[in-house]
């Protein structure tokens, strides 16, 4: 494959070009209620060519080798167009030329597990999720994605890296009369099939929560002090703060860029945030990004102060900051964009019981149910929660959405737990779906949060 990629690159007339070929294998097994709705394995492949010429930069994705000359012509024409009209010529930060072949160690390679065994395991967890007369249906799926990537650049880099992601996840829906509730369930990771075994308790616990939601009261809208669990804290870290750490999000927005200056005090002094794709055995692990840059651990917020951000080669040069290997594509259909790898709030010192004592009255909000940001503002759903009175966890509440402003909320984190946990399944939709997006947090107390009930 490397020779084939060189044969394409050698036809490009530009100052710099790189090409990535990926073969993506996907195995899917899906159950909807008791019915099997999908089963199969398929492989697809394609190329992404990127061209930098006289400060103009452009990319083309194509799926057939026969189209490579058309792709070269399109990418070159687009780069010339960019060059003609750009006000800031693109320059790439320098990086090491790499020749490497990286296949991460797996705890049981899912490709060696038979389809029948995968089906039986998925059926077993689905049966647990269905095992209550108040459960209306389930949508449980096994999804295994492997990407075999080959990257070649005119600078001389030649990298082969394999990424594997497997999960059993989905939705459990309960119903009582006209009231419908649902809860998400997930097990997975990027370091092998073993993490999917022996997860019966997780599926049973989530099934019981789905049933309990039918008798929970809707949360009352307004402002409240809350404890958020690791999943909610992780989504906040990713959605509200993490995306602002991506240089491409802020680079053309003058006022946001002013707020996100290195050295700015953005949060409470007890909050530190790091992104580290090099952490092994985590969903977000990779060695090289899709520009061939080695991934680095990046401290982003240290004791409340902004100390770093995530870059591509282009933005690192534009910001005159270090390149750190965070430019990643969903697959062969896309040029890479700046993404988080494994982002988390560093653990503090408080135990969960200590956090409850400190909260006194408020809510304990658990498990993210989708989140979205727009500039400084965010809105996240939570799957369920509990009232907290005098430091004691009370009745369950449902229909929870929280909303706020990033900077105010970072300052309103008044306590950080000692129990960091990272997510096992991801799905960040910044233009492309990153199923390896990993985030986490310890339990946190956030004061004065806007809660929008129904």
């Amino acid at each position: 494959m490397v020779e084939k990629l060189w044969s394409i690159l050698n036809k490009v007339t530009a100052e710099y070009a790189d090409i990535r070929h990926e073969t993506k294998n996907e195995t899917r097994i899906a159950l909807n209620g008791k019915e099997l709705t999908e089963l199969g394995s398929n492989a697809t492949d394609g190329y992404v060519l990127r061209v930098l010429h006289k400060g103009g930069f452009s990319s083309v994705a194509f799926t057939t080798y026969d189209d490579h000359e058309k792709a070269i012509a399109t990418a070159t024409e687009n780069a010339h167009l960019m060059s003609r009209f750009t006000t800031q010529p693109v320059v790439f930060a320098t990086t090491q030329v790499v020749k490497d072949h990286y296949v991460p160690l797996l705890d049981e390679d899912p490709r060696k597990v038979t389809m029948d065994e995968k089906l039986q395991l998925t059926r077993k967890y689905n049966a647990i999720a269905l095992d209550h007369d108040k459960i209306a249906t389930t949508n449980i799926a096994y999804v295994e994605t492997t990407r075999e990537k080959n990257f070649v650049s005119t600078e001389g880099s030649e990298i082969h890296e394999e990424l594997m992601t497997a999960r059993i996840s989905g939705l459990i829906t309960s119903r009582e009369g006209n009231l419908i509730q649902n809860i998400r369930v997930a097990a997975g990771g990027s370091h092998g099939f073993a993490i999917l075994r022996d997860r019966e308790d997780d599926f049973e616990r989530k099934m019981r929560i789905a049933v309990e939601l039918l008798t929970a009261q809707p949360i009352k809208g307004g402002r409240s002090n809350v404890i958020v669990n690791q999943s909610m804290g992780g989504v906040f870290t990713h959605e509200a703060f993490g995306h602002f750490s991506e240089a491409d999000i802020i680079e053309n927005n003058r006022s946001m860029r002013q707020k996100m200056q290195i050295g700015a005090m953005l949060g409470s002094e007890i909050v530190s945030i790091t992104d580290d794709p090099t952490l092994p055995n985590q969903l977000g692990h990779y060695r090289y990004d899709d520009e061939g840059v080695a991934a680095c651990r990046s401290s982003l917020l240290k004791d409340g102060m902004l100390v770093g951000r995530l870059h591509s080669r282009r933005t690192a040069a534009a910001f005159q900051e270090p390149v750190n290997g965070h430019c990643v594509a969903e697959d062969y259909r896309y040029g890479p964009i700046i993404r988080m790898g494994t982002i988390f709030i560093e653990p503090g010192k408080d135990t969960f019981d200590g956090l409850l004592d400190r909260l006194g009255d408020g809510f304990y909000i658990l498990d993210a149910k989708g989140g979205q940001t727009s500039g400084e503002n965010f809105t996240f759903g939570a799957q369920y929660g509990y009232e907290v009175k005098n430091g004691k966890v009370g009745a369950m509440v449902r229909d929870i959405n929280i909303s706020g402003n990033l900077y105010n909320t970072l300052k309103n984190i008044v306590a950080v737990g000692d129990d960091l946990r990272l997510g096992q399944v991801g799905g960040c939709g910044k233009g492309q779906m990153n199923i390896r997006s990993c985030h986490g947090s310890p339990h946190l107390i956030i004061s004065n949060l806007v809660i929008g009930g129904v």
Binding site: I29, L36, E38, L39, G40, S41, A43, T44, D45, G46, S58, S59, A61, T64, D67, A71, E77, N78, L81, F85, T86, T87, M115, L119, A136, T173, R175, N178, I180, N182, G222, I249, N252, N253, S255, M256, D331, R333, G371, Q372, S374, G375, E376, N377, T379, F380, G381, R398, D399, I400, N401, S403, G429, G431, Q432, M433, V450, G452, G453, V454
Partner: protein, 436 residues
């Protein structure tokens, strides 16, 4: 394709081949700067087999390796996914014109010039950051099956979105123009965005409570999403629809008529057959407040013992690879019929209320139940019939089966928006939570 069909037929009772070829371009300007141009050239094939009422499914990008495609489909067949439906025979669907040859004129140089012209027209009219995104492309979809269908359709599209951002945010006022070929935006289009943007320049702390709300077309999807879920044959089959058994009932205010019209070829994306080869029709969902229909693909129509309605599409709410998707029940061509009130007249009728110009978190919350709880991104505040600024940090919440009964007025035109073509709609008594 014929050889592939013949080869697969030997191994199964029924065969379907779906093919897709497409090219696409995306041009982004941010803050008057040409930021990115991306292009895509792609093709692929999906195969479905039915044998002994079991379904096999496979896809590939490599059209030369048909043998692997059939092998994967046969392997999939062994899983035992039930298929109690037949691929449809060929029909003579009505002719539409979904492809406009002039799309070839929409070269990236032409679009870059148009974006620059837009900046020159807006210069000095607003202090906000202006972003412009243009998409253009064409595709050819083919469906061939063992019942004799051999369908082909070409589509072309062009869209341009102008977004003006409020300072310090990524939140702004935006509007999109869509067409089957390149089309310049007119001054009225741009002035409409600027007028709305400038009226919300001042950031306000507002007391929450129940108040009227104008949902802009760009926000209506947050409500329609819940209705799409409830009227899907899939939701009905899996007992997730709160509308089960309510066909013919008045469920919303009688001003509301919601139609799925794939045959309207004045808009890009018109279709005469769905992604399973079933003929598309103009299809009412809500007619003057009355629930008229549930919509089905082949699979869920067979499960529910009814006829398919031409709503089997390879689509997903999130990004996905078309050839890798199975057809599922989907409303791809929704329109809310316009009312009789001009937009600013709707605004003038509000004594104290909000305008929902964008939403945050529409995908979270209990969608099957019809609940929504969303951030305003942005929300404008109206006092005594005039917009006085934009609201700082606010959420709105409700349930569509209550809110859509409280329609006070509907704008007299529709605009392209996410998931369909919608007018602005004024609702009474929307619950608004703010900092105060």
């Amino acid at each position: 394709m014929e050889n592939l069909m013949a080869f697969a037929k030997k191994e199964s009772d029924q065969v379907e081949l779906y093919s897709l070829e497409q090219t696409a371009n995306r041009i982004e300007f941010e803050a008057a700067k040409l930021n990115d141009i991306q292009s895509t050239i792609e093709s692929g094939v999906t195969m479905r087999l039915i044998k002994d009422h079991k379904l096999g499914f496979a896809y590939t990008r490599n059209l030369q390796d048909g043998e692997s495609l059939v092998r994967n489909a046969l392997a999939s067949l062994k899983g035992g996914v039930e298929a109690r439906f037949d691929f449809p025979a060929s029909v003579n669907p009505p002719g539409i014109r979904a492809y406009d040859e002039r799309i070839k004129e929409a070269r990236n140089t032409v679009i870059v010039d148009e974006c620059r012209r837009i900046y020159s027209r807006l210069e000095g009219k607003t202090k906000g950051q202006i972003d412009v995104t243009a998409l253009t492309g064409a595709n050819r979809i083919g469906i061939m099956n063992s019942a004799g269908a051999d369908l082909s359709a070409m589509n072309s599209y062009y869209s341009i979105t102008v977004n003006i951002l409020y300072p310090g945010t990524a939140t702004g006022i935006h509007r999109t123009l869509v067409s089957k070929a390149f089309q310049s935006v007119d001054d009225g289009f741009l002035e409409g965005i600027v007028e709305l943007y400038n009226s919300g320049a001042k950031e306000l702390n507002v007391r929450g409570g129940k108040m009227p709300a104008v949902f802009m077309p760009e926000s209506m999807y947050a409500l329609i999403w819940r209705l799409q879920s409830a009227t899907s044959g899939e939701s009905l089959y899996h007992k997730q629809s709160p509308l089960a058994g309510r066909l013919g009932e008045t469920i919303f205010e009688e001003k509301l008529t919601i139609v799925n019209d794939p045959l309207d070829d004045t808009k890009p994306g018109a279709r005469i057959f769905d992604d399973e080869g079933v003929t598309c029709t103009k299809f009412p969902i809500i007619d003057r407040g009355v629930l008229k229909n549930f919509y089905y693909d082949l699979c869920y129509a067979s499960k529910m013992g009814t006829a398919p309605t031409g709503h089997g599409f390879k689509t997903s709410r999130w990004s996905g690879e078309t050839i890798s998707m199975r057809p599922s029940c989907a409303l791809e061509h929704l329109t809310i019929e316009p009312g009789d009130t001009e937009f600013w007249q709707l605004v003038r009728s509000v004594e104290r209320g909000i305008i929902v110009c964008g939403t945050l978190g529409a995908h979270s919350g209990n969608i099957p139940n019809g609940d929504f709880s969303i951030g305003l991104s942005p929300g404008l505040f109206v006092e005594k019939g005039a917009i006085v600024g934009r609201i700082k940090d606010a959420m709105i919440a409700g349930n569509i089966y209550e809110v859509l009964k409280r329609v006070r007025g509907i704008e007299n035109r529709v605009h392209p928006a996410y998931t369909g073509y919608y007018p602005a709609v004024l609702f009474d008594d929307i619950s608004v939570a703010t900092e105060n």
